[in-house]
Symmetry: C2
Subunit: 288 residues, 2 copies
């Protein structure tokens, strides 16, 4: 068995599994939660990967996002990965909320000492899915979409663009849309990836979307709370940069950015729009 089941919880007619496994990519034990909708005797369940934001474990979104209600209703599984290796025991990994533990930033680090463990890009888009497909063969990772919040929204967009054809659709809640030009991104890219800005660009959704000439891409759904201080005050999120970049080539008119009045950056914001995002993804997952 690749994964150990720490807890199996019945919810919304389906099953939530809290799993642990040894990752070859991060060289640590990793936690992941997976929700299986009812009737997973079906041999081919579409999958949505939800990437969480800074500081989160798999449990935050599992408890507060209410993805499971819609996953149960429409018939898809949800995978909630962790946001970093934990317990790598690298000096400095626990010093701040926005770097190191809980802040893997969905890159493969190239810089010492991070490059040994902090490889969340290969972990999330590669190893984790391959291993889940092996152990839970009802999960169809050939019919998979991706979404996420904040750092995880960036991770979803980044992973979508870097793996053409892999994900049927992508959406994001308050994504860090242009990490090369905000404080969170500069800190993580600088320390994980070093000073080579072309490497930063290779993960930056606003840079990546510029090169897409294919007009047959799925729409990208984004929600951003207007009262989110990381948006209006700190300019960490910058969805407008992403929309502007999208206008240049194949994605023209295909980024559906909703700036929603009154909403903040919390799970209260996420849970409010999960239904819209579920309806977005089921179109592309063949569940409509």
């Amino acid at each position: 068995m690749l994964f150990t089941t720490d807890e199996e919880i019945t919810q919304f007619g389906g099953k939530l599994l809290k799993l642990t496994h040894e990752s070859l990519v991060t060289k640590t034990s990793m936690n992941v939660n997976v929700f299986f909708p009812p009737s997973t005797t079906s041999s081919s369940v579409p999958v949505l990967v939800y990437l969480s934001g800074l500081t989160c474990t798999p449990n935050n979104a599992t408890e507060k996002s209410f993805w499971q209600y819609f996953a149960s209703k429409y018939g898809f599984a949800v995978v909630f990965p962790d946001t970093s290796p934990r317990g790598a025991n690298i000096e400095g990994e626990n010093e701040s909320y926005d770097f190191g533990t809980g802040a893997g930033f969905y890159v493969d680090a190239t810089q010492e000492p991070w490059s040994h463990n902090y490889n969340m890009y290969s972990y999330v888009h590669g190893e984790l899915q391959e291993k889940l497909a092996q152990q839970f063969n009802q999960l169809n990772f050939n019919n998979v979409s991706i979404t996420g919040h904040s750092m995880g929204g960036y991770g979803a967009l980044s992973g979508f663009f870097k793996n053409p054809g892999k994900y049927k659709s992508v959406s994001a809640f308050a994504p860090i849309s242009n990490p090369s030009t905000c404080a969170w991104g500069e800190k993580c890219f600088g320390r994980y990836l070093g000073e080579d800005k072309s490497l930063w660009s290779s993960y930056d959704p606003t840079e990546l979307i510029k090169s897409y000439t294919d007009c047959n891409q799925p729409d990208i759904l984004i929600h951003q709370g207007a009262k989110d201080p990381f948006y209006w005050r700190d300019h960490q999120l910058q969805p407008e940069n992403f929309v502007k970049a999208a206008e240049e080539l194949g994605y023209k008119g295909k980024v559906l950015l909703n700036i929603v009045d009154g909403y903040d950056h919390s799970y209260f914001f996420i849970s409010s729009f999960v239904e819209d995002h579920a309806k977005h993804h089921i179109k592309y997952l063949g569940l409509e």
Copy 2:
């Protein structure tokens, strides 16, 4: 202003207010969360009171129960009271999870030293609602229903029976159905109410329902997880006792007890059946 707004959070198109006020009944500062559905310019919004279980603050259910999605959809407000006074500074109030702080048991204590502050019955069914109605006059406490989980499920049933005509409907998730005959109830009733068993009975849903001869009562909806260890292992919940008592008089056939396979005692259980309970209450709140 009776209540101070500590936080105002936009969610599901409505507003969640985290409020604080000085209670005359508990003689402490009390926290309460209230969710207002969209369009509360309406001058008459039906209200659902949700009573939480042992150890909970108003935030647990606010974050994990998923009531707000359905409150927004159907157009009712939800009031999430706290489960006890906090900071009364009574010796022994913080010694165990199932007595004192977080465990007010929705009674008016008659025993020293608890009787000065631990009056959650009068607080929840009286003062809190009266004061909310004063400050938020769009909330219609003449059109109010009640529900709750575990200790709060007992509190909802108890409050419903003790206030004939006050609540349009009642439901409960894994309620402590016959507290006079389980360890949790014996501990709290004994210390808050003393040795007079007739006083215990006056709060015990299984005793209270026996005296109801009126056949025109609303149905009572109960869900109980079959894998809940407080149910099958510890016999703290005993919904069968309640159903049996209901068969004697006016409630015959009107307690809809659903023992649901696989479910535990957690918020994952609650959130899974909140939709059913919402649909139950809106029938009686005139929102169907």
